[in-house]
Amino acid sequence: MSGISLPVGNISSATGWKSTLFLNFCVTLLIQFSSWAVFAEQTEPPIRFGVTPAIVHDQYGVLDDWRVYLERKLQRKVEFVSRDSYRDTIDLLKQKKLDFAWVSTYPYVYLTQQGYARLLVTPLYRGRPYYSAYLIVPASDTQTTSLLQLEGKVFAFADLYSNTGYLVPRHFLRSAGKDENHFFRKTFFTWSHRKVVMAVAEGLADGGSIDSFVWDTLSVIHPELTSQTRIVSKSEEYGFPPIVANTAVSKRDSIVMRDALMDMGKDLDGISLLKKLNIDGFIPGNPKLYENVVKLQRTFGEP
């Protein structure tokens, strides 16, 4: 036993001055950690950016490139939040879970009227901030020339909160003196403009109404899909689906984001991304662009 106790005593006496040093080191570390913690608290939370089927929102590769681009420009973490239905995105904005969102025109009108969001920028498509609704039928249908000929047929809508994918054809029918609720034999929602094209191409629906921007983009990236459909008619023009900022987002953050978006046309990466997104750039939003949508909304009320 004595053989063991002797060296133990030796160690304790020998480490006396060493333990003082160790204590000092620990204290230094503690101070260091707390200062880091303060820094972490001060680090800004990521910007949450909502994308909807108003654009071809399942081009995940492009969206990821865009996210990385924005992170570099804003010097902040950016998260893209993709939802299939407009209602989901509207709810996320209402609950302040999104800072910005690229929404369709009808959700924009609804959100700004309710004071949940404000207009940030409007994209330029083919040099202009406008788009329209296309009435499409299967390519095999060579007879149809007007929506009125699809009475008693199966019709595909994009979204309950869609302007071009729901409001526009219904408004057209009502204007023609038809009962838009009983005109078709059956209607269904696909919760995406792209899927309206698919439903019509597959023959599931005899016709569908779709965002012209989505159809045009698809005709470039998936021509085999759009070639199975035929555009029967194009509606009047509406303001292009804008990017909105949550009203809870600070003015400063809004401006930083607005500038980052509007400056995309000024560098090569931005130009390349705009090309992939199939738009030409962004301009400051102008509510006047969306006045005819407001009119439609007033006609039908909230869905």
Binding site: S140, V154, A156, R185, K186, F188, F189, T190, W191, K195, A199, E202, G203, L204
Partner: protein, 482 residues
């Protein structure tokens, strides 16, 4: 020719080949039938599982009238590539309680809201098979004359049926997989056949070869004694190997028997000849003795004119020659004589040597006699002289004659060997006949006399030829000493 008349050389390999092919076909077809059944059962099971997996989701879609989601669900199942999945549904259809299409994977063929009955005769027949009540059991239906299998899965909740999911599968969907399995089976079978058939062919011929040889040899027996079989052809201890041995043994026995028969025939013939000769000799000797006595008496008379005396002398010489000849024929062995001594053999050699030297022959003698032998010396000497003179006569110039004399185990053995003129087999069998001679001079009684003496001494004499050598061997039993 009937199939079973074919030679074993063909029949055995053929039979083996047929058996191998039949077994290979039997095994592989059983496996293929089993594989076909298993694949078919898999198809039904997988279809049922697919139906049961899709039904809950489709129920929600029906309840919410979500045509698009239902379409995405059913169309996804038909887009699976066949390689990746054991099941590819051809078409999926969801019909509501009224049997109208709610959604289908191929809307162009089966558009929404269209009654099932209007989609063709098969669907019309199928519509009759869909139970109207709240039956919640998955059914597999095969319609007569249809290439499809229909799996009906109820879309139900809490025993309330909202509709039916119809999965249409190609009944023969698994055929490509089956063909792949069958192809591998065929390859394996062919491999086995290419391995087994040559082995079988070799083995069959190996078995048949000894049999055919045996058959050929046996066939020869009626004409002549066939050659023996080479035991190396089939050196195994099975029935065939034993048959080989038995056959060879039988040949040896046959040969011995034939030789024995020949010997018996020859000795019987010679015995008969001996009796005949002795009989004739006695018949001649009696009057001859009288005649000679009469001539003797006649010669004692002095008043015979020289002419008559000349005639009497002529008659006497003639009668004496007859007596000699008859005497030679009539071998009398019961002659009293002293026993044979080793010296007798040397005497015989001395007597024969001048004849041998005349033909420049060499006689090698091996005399193993060391003591007297209880046999009449005169007769043995005559036998040996006769045999040696016969050998000298048959030998060509500068030939070698060997002569062995030995007494052992109660027998005296004499062996004389020479080369030179060798008698034919026919001549060999008549060698001991009286007046049989191969030479121009001589009366041909030497070997006859020898034979008679040996015979009367109770011995045996044999003449055998071996290549260009002639062997005469004599075996005489020696009287046991008192």
């Amino acid at each position: 020719m009937r199939l079973f008349d074919l030679s074993f050389r063909v029949k055995l390999p053929l039979l083996g080949a047929v058996l191998i092919i039949v077994s290979a076909l039997g095994v592989s077809s059983t496996l293929m039938i089993a594989a076909y059944g298993a694949l078919r059962e898999d198809l039904r099971l997988n279809s049922k599982v697919l139906g049961q997996a899709l039904a809950p989701s489709l129920l929600q879609d029906m309840l919410h009238d979500d045509t698009w989601h239902a379409f995405e669900t059913v169309s996804a199942s038909t887009r699976i590539t066949p390689d990746a999945s054991p099941l590819k549904a051809k078409t999926l259809l969801v019909v509501d309680r009224a049997l109208n299409v709610f959604v289908s994977s191929h809307p162009k063929v089966a558009p929404v809201l269209v009654p099932l009955q209007s989609l063709g005769s098969e669907y019309a027949a199928l519509a009759d098979r869909i139970p109207a009540g709240n039956d919640t059991e998955t059914r597999a239906i095969e319609l007569p004359d249809s290439s499809h299998l229909y799996i009906l899965t109820p879309i139900a909740d809490d025993h309330v049926r909202f509709g039916t999911l119809i999965i249409v599968v190609d009944k023969n969907f698994f055929l490509p997989r089956f063909y792949t399995i069958a192809w591998y089976g065929l390859l394996a079978g062919l491999l086995v056949l290419t391995l087994l058939l040559p082995i079988n062919w070799y083995w069959g011929r190996r078995m048949a070869l000894p049999l055919t040889q045996l058959t050929e040899r046996m066939g020869e027996i009626s004409q002549r004694l066939p050659a023996s079989l080479d035991p190396e052809i089939y050196n195994y201890g099975d029935e065939l190997g034993r048959l080989f041995n038995v056959y060879n043994q039988m040949l040896v026995e046959l040969k011995t028997k034939t030789e024995l028969e020949n010997q018996i025939i020859q000795s019987e013939r010679l015995a008969a000849l001996g009796q005949l000769a002795a009989g004739i000799a006695h018949e001649i000797n009696n009057p001859l003795g009288g005649m000679l006595t009469a001539i003797d008496t006649l010669k004692c008379h002095t008043d015979i004119d020289p002419q008559t005396k000349k005639a009497i002398d002529l008659i006497e010489r003639g009668l004496t020659q007859i007596k000699d000849t008859v005497g030679a024929l009539l071998v009398e062995a019961r002659l009293k004589s002293r026993n044979l001594a080793p010296q007798d053999i040397d005497d015989v050699m001395t007597l024969v040597m001048p004849q041998a030297h005349k033909k420049t022959l060499r006689i090698t003698t091996r005399n193993e006699l060391r003591a007297e032998v209880r046999l009449p010396a005169t007769l043995v000497r005559q036998i040996l002289i006769n045999l040696l003179l016969n050998a000298v006569e048959a030998s060509l110039a500068q030939g070698i004659i060997t002569c062995t004399i030995e007494a052992r185990e109660g027998f005296l053995y004499l062996l004389v060997t020479n080369n030179g003129r060798i008698p034919s087999s026919e001549q060999l069998s008549r060698l001991f006949d009286p007046f049989f001679s191969q030479k121009d001079n001589g009366h041909g009684l030497g070997l006859w006399v020898t034979y008679q003496i040996v015979n009367q001494l109770g011995g045996k004499i044999t003449a055998t030829k071996e290549g260009n050598q002639m062997h005469f061997s004599v075996e005489i039993p020696v009287e046991a000493s008192q």
